[in-house]
Amino acid sequence: MTRHDDSEFALGLLERMIRIREFEEGVRFLFLEGSMPGTIHQCQGQEATAVGVCAALRPDDFITATFRGHGQALAKGLSEQQLLDELFGATTGCCKGKGGSMHVGDMSKGMVPGIAIVGGGIPLAAGMALAFRMQKSSQVVACFFGDGAVAEGAFHEGLNMAAIWRLPVVFACENNLYGASTRIDLVMRNPRISDRAAAYGFAGETVDGNDVLAVHAAAQRAVAKCRAGEGPVLLELLTYRRTGHSRRDPCAYQPAAERKEWAACDPIERLAARLKERGAIDEAGIAAMRARIVQQFEAAVARAKAAPRPTPQDLEADVFAPAVAP
């Protein structure tokens, strides 16, 4: 069964990708204006990985993400309001304003707050999946990480643990070719990351990570395997980061020709072209969708700027567990 012929489903994917793009573009300017504190790590151009994988999950499935987690958060169902409130450090944010851009998440929506240690989410995802197994739950975990995490010890430990216990984890590696400023071929003799799965005895697949329908189809197969007790699965999603590693990185190490090549396979443009071809939407419809999203974003920014900030009285809240009687 495929849902890809279902235009309503595909339009939903398009809408989510555009929402992520406009969120990231809007946040880029809020940072430049100086109205948003801290640094930010953005995902323009990588929208299809988050949207494709999360569309294959149930609301009660979990994801782990990294410091570059705005896209996954929006794809997993967090609202842009609770994200913007968090980015502005407001108490109404998804982590009450104490996490900021690098730690967005909401356990009630199935997203562990972002784990900013490279590779840190990998053993954690295996642990969550073990908990689901022990609770006899059918929930799965999708664990997002980048190519930079593959050379970390945690990658080996987490994948091996998940393999020997056949844990329900979809390891979703967003291979955007650069770990900060280091190109993948400088740190990997075999840059095909999906091959690593074979070393642990489970399935790995390389997918066009800028084709949201391909990502969704691969994620659906992987999730089905995990629910059937045949996990884990490693998905390598080939994509490209358009911005610097963080806002403080000028990104001068990406060759112009390479940037141009990847800009030509924009995930939003590709899905939009397919949907236009089949008559599901036209250019005016896409423009209207984008305008509505931008308007909602701007309204959310205005609310976030006015939202309450933590006070010194909030300093210890959620830091210490309540005392338990012996």
Binding site: F29, F31, L32, E33, G34, T39, R247, R248, D249, P250, A252
Partner: protein, 75 residues
């Protein structure tokens, strides 16, 4: 001047202006080049309009948040 430095509180030097006074600039267009404590990079304009004045000359080091340019936005 946006907060582009890696070390908190370090000043940012203007390298050169990419748009001249009196010229129009688009939101997102590179307005000037700066040197932080770690890298040289372009800074994009946050508004579309006409560049009316520049308040930080090349080689000048300014604090994060400093007023470095005035852009007149058409209504």
């Amino acid at each position: 001047m946006p907060d582009l430095a890696t070390t908190e509180g370090s000043d940012i030097a203007v390298v050169r202006w990419l748009v001249g006074v009196g010229e129009t600039v688009q939101r997102g267009q590179a307005l000037l080049e700066v040197e932080t404590d770690k890298a040289t990079m372009e800074v994009e304009s946050v508004a579309s309009g006409v560049l009316k004045a520049i308040h930080a000359a090349p080689k000048e080091k300014v604090a994060v948040g400093a007023h470095i340019a005035t852009v007149e936005v058409a209504q």
